[in-house]
């Protein structure tokens, strides 16, 4: 039993960190967040060269064939860098859904170009009810065409094709298909843009089998929790650095226990989120029966912790933390958007309750 990272896992984490430090510094993040899609073609092709765009997918689809723990580590580093654009939407979300639900031919057609870095995509799940349970979808395809509206679709304007979760299956829609209308929703997080996507008798290709969808959503949820860990770590690092240098009453503010304890709690919350996210990744890799609970625990904890860590970090910065020029609010915005994405803590607590409290009755009855 070993909870530490293997040498190759450490190598992946370190090289991802150097990559994002060099290719996606905060100046780049701020530049991209002011653009319409936050997508940068040059950065994307460099990520593809690194193998990031196919990280967990089989080599037969031009993927890198790595495991879920590696995905978690990569997402943690992406979160630390506040990587803007459609990486999560394309590789993690659309990639996982295609891998789980598409036929081999469809994987060759849609997943392989994602792995090669040629195409971008996203998955449309939410509708007006904003329910993250994929089974709550109302939209349904009639004679191979979709009509209706999906909301909060991340990175839709950067996508070449959009995967749509419908009542009667999972569908792929070309971003240029007739009857499709993609309009921005003004979200708090400028680095991951949200869109409303309307369909009017839009031709859609049904993916092979929707049964794998919950597992794909679990992969995306765990990866998002890991991304949040990276954001928390960066917020902590920036804050500790500031507490060491900012002086008041003639001393660095980090000498005061009221400030130290905020930082200590940020550390505790970050490390605990990390333990839960790594474990979630491992249970996915192992197809362990406890994976759904582990993933909900990771997202439950990270959802509250990333908000709290952000609160503490800004509080320690005082007035400086409330300025536009300070980077913390960019992480804070992402943390808030990620908190609700794929279900907030309340959503996941209810899921844990179903899997543990309600399961206790079922096992008692069957005994």
């Amino acid at each position: 039993m070993e909870f530490g990272l293997s040498d190759s896992q450490q190598l992946l984490r370190d090289s991802a960190r150097s990559f994002f430090t060099a290719e996606c510094p905060m100046a780049q993040v701020r530049r991209l967040m002011e653009t319409d899609t936050a997508y940068d073609a040059a950065l994307w092709s460099k990520m593809a060269e690194q193998g990031f765009t196919g990280i967990i997918f089989p080599e037969e689809y031009d993927g890198a064939g790595l495991g879920k723990v590696e995905l978690i580590l990569l997402m943690e580093e992406a979160g630390r860098a506040l990587l803007p654009g459609p990486f999560f939407s394309t590789v993690v979300l659309a990639g996982a859904v295609l891998h789980a639900a598409a036929t081999p031919e469809q994987r060759k057609k849609y997943l392989a170009p994602i792995c090669r870095g040629e195409l971008r995509s996203t998955v449309a799940i939410l509708e007006a009810g904003a329910n993250w349970d994929p089974a709550s979808a109302q939209i349904s395809a009639v004679k191979g065409a979709l009509s209706g509206e999906k909301l909060f679709v991340s990175d839709a304007a950067a996508a070449d094709f959009i995967i749509v979760v419908a009542r009667n299956g999972v569908y792929v829609v070309d971003a240029d298909a007739p009857g499709i209308r993609i309009t921005p929703m003004s979200g708090m997080d400028f680095t991951r843009k949200l869109y409303a996507v309307q369909f009017e008798n839009t031709p859609a290709e049904k993916l092979g089998d929707a049964a794998g969808l919950p597992n794909a959503v679990d992969i995306a949820t765990a990866a998002l929790a890991a991304e949040m860990v990276g954001g928390m770590q960066r917020t902590l690092d920036i804050t500790v650095e500031y507490a060491k240098t900012r002086k008041q009453f003639g001393k660095p503010i980090g000498i005061f226990q009221a400030v130290q304890h905020q930082c200590a709690d940020m550390y505790l919350e970050t490390e605990s989120s990390r333990s839960a996210a790594y474990y979630a990744g491992w249970t996915l890799e192992e197809n362990a029966p406890e994976a759904p609970v582990a993933i909900s625990i990771a997202k439950m904890y990270a959802s509250d912790a990333s908000r709290t860590v952000g609160n503490r970090g800004i509080q320690v910065h005082g007035g400086m933390g409330f300025t536009w020029e300070n980077d913390l609010h960019l992480y804070y915005r992402r943390a808030k958007a990620s908190e609700t994405m794929f279900g907030d803590a309340t959503f996941h607590r209810e899921r844990i309750a179903r899997l543990t409290i309600d399961a206790a009755v079922r096992s008692a009855k069957s005994a």
Partner: protein, 395 residues
């Protein structure tokens, strides 16, 4: 990262499981709820039996007749002990904290003299750290040890000493040089609790029990050969003990916590709230799920820490988050238990209407001490601030 058990770990677990199944005393249930003063000889005999099977401290070096196993095997040991609902071992401080400190700092003669009897529970150990005026500011302690020839003469008072009433030996932190800065004049002595001048009195705590003692030392004579580590280096020796307490002790608590949440979930199906089972109440569901998740994270934090200790060799200051996490979590869990039980939560074991023989009212009160014992949450946060995050010292 691979959380599957290795072949060696599986073998160890299966061997231990079989051994526990064959050896856990059949009458343990009759003893379980007796006061510890009554059950202590029973627990002592149980530890002796474990040691005969070479289970008492599996991770200690092989030269002491134990297994020299990894910390992971030690963690698996605690998990299996809890799973089997085995009795606890009598010499818990000796095994958990003081033995590892003697192994790290003791002379060969000291190790030979003390370690085997810690393992066999022939000698029970207690810990003399806190004083009435030295709690969080441990380094300010005043207990005086004056060297006369080759003997220290010890005078002063210790408080909050666990196992003081049954201790044969004590890891005692004393001041050997009052002239130097406070951290630099401390020494750790290994003290025979039967020596003349040692006066042990019960310290009654808010639960009504006396788990702890206060101890008065009057002209107690301790041979200079009983210094653990170097003279005036007692701060480092004491910190080593405290790090073991913070870093590894929580591992034994996880399954207790897990049993608590499982029991609360079970109770939520029978207890009513607003005319239906509490398990169907949205607020209760949310709170139970939160506790369930955090108890799992406690386990994962502990496992990650074990992996880190395995690669560095010693528990580090980051162990402080484990202590904060379990102690504050237990208080939250006990509060949820109270909410679930409603009016019944307050009933003591002496009331026949009490749920689960009153363990929940006791556990609620006892959990209040968790964020104070073994270093307050505030001290743990100071440690993280300074030693982990590198912030300047506030004192």
């Amino acid at each position: 990262m691979d959380l599957n058990l290795t072949t060696e770990e599986l073998q160890f677990r299966d061997e231990l499981r079989a051994w526990l199944a064959a050896n856990i005393p059949k009458d343990w249930n009759e003893w379980r709820e007796k006061p510890i003063e009554v059950s202590f000889p029973y627990l002592r005999a149980w530890q002796r039996k474990l040691q005969e099977g070479r289970w008492a401290a599996v991770s200690w070096p092989k030269e002491y007749g134990v297994r020299g196993a990894s910390l992971m095997l030690q963690a698996i040991f605690w998990e299996e002990m809890a799973r089997a609902e085995a009795p606890p071992m009598a010499n818990s401080l000796g095994l958990g904290l003081i033995g590892p400190t003697i192994i790290a700092y003791g002379s060969e003669a000291q190790k030979k003299r003390y370690i085997p009897k810690i393992l066999s529970a022939e000698e029970i150990w207690c810990q003399g750290f806190s004083e009435p005026n030295a709690g969080s500011d441990l380094a300010s302690l005043q207990m005086e040890a004056r060297l006369e020839g080759d003997t220290y003469i010890v005078n002063g008072q210790k408080v909050w000493m666990s196992y003081g009433w049954v201790g044969d030996w004590c890891e005692l932190v004393v001041r050997t040089d009052p002239a130097v800065p406070k951290h630099k004049g401390l020494t750790v002595l290994l003290v025979d609790m039967k020596a003349p001048g040692v006066d042990v009195r019960p310290l009654r705590q808010m639960t009504g029990e006396s788990e702890f003692n206060e101890i008065f030392f009057r002209d107690v004579r301790v041979p200079a050969a009983n210094v653990l580590g170097k003279v005036n280096d007692g701060w480092n020796v004491a910190i080593s003990t405290l790090m073991h307490e913070r870093g590894a002790y929580g591992a034994r608590l996880h399954l207790l916590f897990k049993r608590n949440i499982d029991r609360l979930i079970e109770l939520s199906h029978t207890l009513q709230r607003n005319g239906k089972p509490a398990a169907q109440d949205q607020v209760i569901r949310q709170k139970l799920a939160q506790c369930y998740g955090e108890i799992e994270i406690m386990r994962l934090n502990q496992l990650r820490a074990f992996s880190r200790i395995t690669s560095t060799g010693v528990p580090g200051p980051e162990g402080s988050i484990l202590k904060i996490f379990w102690s504050e979590l237990n208080q939250r869990v006990q509060q949820i238990a109270q909410e679930l039980l409603g009016s019944y939560g307050q009933l003591l074991g002496t009331d026949s209407r009490a749920v689960d023989h009153g363990i929940w009212s006791y556990a609620y009160l006892r959990s209040r001490g968790n964020t104070i014992e073994a270093g307050t949450s505030e001290i743990q946060r100071n440690i993280i601030g300074h030693f982990v995050l590198g912030l300047p010292r506030s004192y």
